[in-house]
């Protein structure tokens, strides 16, 4: 049983990092995340003070939008290929499978975002202190984003235009993470990190069950 879970985790991670057929890997959300930070100064001008004041919020918006990009390849290809049916026949519960997938998704998406955040911070002339809070915030918030992403991917798997719908469904759910994440960078906003962690944990706790129910309902 644990051997099977490990094999599935390795496969999921490989798929999500390298990308599968016609669906980009971990690089795509990452580039998107950095490109947003690169474009923002072009749009509002190179005023370092303005950038430093608003830049942290831009990083959080970019992180949220980057989380939507991989939605279509998180669950749908495996439902399509019958992988979930085969796993069900072997007595592997969808809840565990989705938890494994959230972990793999976070490693292929949350972690690279944290590594790229210093580049974005540099482009937006943020201070070292701001970058530190952003990194802590991303560490606390991206697991929640990954959980919401996998849940929505499971709900929209098998639907036509599921990707577009998935984006629309994921954004409202991710708004608390955005508010607390960006809010933690305001003066006296340190409490925001606790709320961010709480929102992230709530998403993480609900996600495997909601996603598993969606996959089972999709079989009917």
């Amino acid at each position: 049983m644990s051997g099977a879970i490990w094999a599935i985790f390795c496969r999921d991670l490989g798929l999500l990092v390298r990308g599968s057929l016609g669906r980009g890997g971990a690089l795509l959300p990452l580039l998107f995340f950095v490109v947003v930070a690169m474009l923002y100064p072009f749009a509002v001008g190179p005023d370092a003070k303005l950038l430093a004041r608003t830049g942290a919020g831009v990083i959080w918006v970019a992180a949220l939008l980057a989380a939507i990009l991989p939605l279509d390849r998180l669950v749908e290809p495996d439902v399509e290929a019958g992988m979930f049916d085969q796993w069900a026949l072997r007595g592997l519960s969808e809840e565990v499978l989705l938890l494994v997938r959230i972990l793999a998704h976070w490693l292929s998406f949350g972690l690279p975002l944290m590594l790229a955040a210093p580049i974005s911070a540099g482009l937006l002339s943020l201070t070292g202190e701001q970058l530190r809070v952003i990194e802590i915030g991303l560490l606390l918030g991206t697991p929640g984003l990954a959980a919401i992403g996998v849940t929505i991917a499971a709900i929209t798997a098998g639907l036509r235009a599921g990707t577009a719908l998935g984006g629309l469904l994921a954004i409202p759910l991710a708004v608390p993470l955005l508010i607390f994440g960006a809010g933690s960078l305001q003066p006296q906003g340190a409490g925001g990190l606790y709320l961010l962690a709480a929102a992230s944990m709530a998403a993480l706790a609900i996600a495997p069950f909601a996603g598993a129910a969606a996959i089972r309902a999709g079989r009917e």
Partner: protein, 191 residues
């Protein structure tokens, strides 16, 4: 191998607002094979998925002992990976290895699954099924896409599985060349 069993009691199948089948019961002992026959749309695939526990019966219930293995129109092999790796993934989960030699797959192990023909992919799916070590095989149109030679090989694999004490349920509209094959015509169970 401990004895396996598959039994259905008064099954009814509903898709949408239509009842496709009702009152279907059977019981299979080790070594037995059952063909579910009938025209397209009669509910063969739904019935197979019900026996697999993937679809809830509208009425009645299914009992089984021994592991279940399913082969339907989806191969459950990662399309972009070489066949060898894709099969290896299932070997790591099931423990036993897919018998690639029985299905003539040795020369294809380097080929990405998406480049395989329909028949080759079907053979790979059957190899995955045979390697699962499960005692109850549920096959949905196992001969689709196979030529005469590999069709015979697939049926030989089913016979070998039965000889080893396994059960096979085969949904197919094609005639099968299996010994002591029980047949259920699903047309008889239409409401």
């Amino acid at each position: 191998m401990q004895p396996c069993r598959l039994a259905a009691f008064d099954l009814a199948c509903r898709r949408g607002d239509r009842v496709l089948l009702r009152g279907l019961s059977f019981e299979l002992a080790p070594g037995e094979a059952l063909q579910l026959g009938g025209p397209n749309g009669i509910g063969k695939s739904s019935l197979i998925r019900m026996l697999a526990g993937l679809l809830r019966p509208f009425h009645g219930h299914v009992e089984h002992s021994g592991g279940l293995a399913l082969s339907d129109e989806r191969a459950a092999l990662d399309a972009h990976r070489p066949l060898g790796e894709a099969l290896d993934f299932w070997r790591r989960i099931d423990g036993a290895g897919p018998p690639t030699a029985d299905f003539g797959l040795e020369d294809l192990l380097d080929v990405p699954v998406r480049f395989l023909s329909t028949g080759q992919r079907k053979r790979a799916a059957l190899a995955r099924l045979a390697g699962s070590g499960a005692q109850v095989w549920l096959l949905d149109e196992p001969l689709n896409g196979l030529d005469t030679h590999w069709g015979a090989s697939a049926q030989a694999a089913i016979e070998a599985h039965r000889a080893a004490g396994g059960i096979a349920v085969i949904a197919s509209h094609q005639p099968l060349d299996l010994k002591r094959l029980r047949t259920i015509h699903l047309l008889d169970y239409q409401p």
